[in-house]
């Protein structure tokens, strides 16, 4: 088994409404923040040792290629449970 972490972010230029809302909250607490982007993290454990298909999962389902980018990293087994 291998475990992976996928980080999904909106592409630059696509309006990140949650990011703006979070930035306003940080502003309200007195923090000076230039920019906030909010994304998603998906962790998964795959039964096979290949680790193949994660990129395809992102392109087909986990991310919307029109508006999002993704990065895949392998993480220690058991971390995604």
């Amino acid at each position: 088994m291998r475990a992976f972490r996928v980080t999904i972010m909106l592409k630059p230029g696509v309006l990140d409404a949650p990011g703006q809302a979070v930035q306003r909250g940080l502003d309200a607490l007195g923090y000076r923040v230039e920019q906030v982007r909010v994304g998603k993290v998906v962790e998964m454990t795959l039964p096979d040792v290949e680790g193949a298909g994660v990129d395809e999962m992102c392109a087909r389902f986990l991310a919307n290629p029109l508006i999002e980018t993704w990065a895949i990293e392998e993480i220690p087994q058991g971390a995604a449970t």
Binding site: L15, A17, P18, Q20, A21, K40, F61, N64, L66, I67
Partner: protein, 232 residues
Amino acid sequence: MTWGVVFFPGSNCDRDCVHVLRSVVGQHVEEVWHEDRSLDGIDALVLPGGFSYGDYLRSGAIAATAPVMSAVRELAARGAPVLGICNGFQILAEAGLLSGTLLPNVSLRFRCHPAWVRVESDRTPFTAGLRHGTVLRMPVAHGEGAYFATPAEVAALEAAGRVVFRYCDSLGRVTPQANPNGSVAGIAGVASDAGNVVGLMPHPERASEALLGSTDGRRLFESVVGALVGAG
């Protein structure tokens, strides 16, 4: 003709659509469960609004993988009228049956109020009975309705007459103030390449009876009946 209305877990406009089609427009309606794999006998289909699967991952993304969607693709490929309303629009976009996607509203707020849209194309079965430029009053109710597509895709949609509805004021003027969510080019609804698959954010089923303040939405359904019965 027989209409189908698809029920997904989290749909909440399903009964409204069935009611309007059955009791107001006088059609035979079949309720379709999201796990059904056949749409045999269905002449036209509605994917209703709501919050399928709690909007998890992205609005409409998980519903787009439902077993029924293979049959929806086949029905669409056969040229049958398919209408996605609000979450139904998001599902059709996620399924790749319509171009673009729907982003959170620019205002960061859930917008729920009457809106006006202008009919921009009559080459869909849902607008075939309406004149280009007709202004319709229908409510919007969504948090993620900002239509987004790349500039090249928007240009292609415009050139092909696939922008079906555009937000406008009560006089039909397309203005930034009339755009409730920040949709690119004020786009409220689009069609597939062949024109038979249409998605829109406003709710025609909530504007189909005088008691509810507008009967404009009914014209979309009646347009299909006129187009199909007229042709058949």
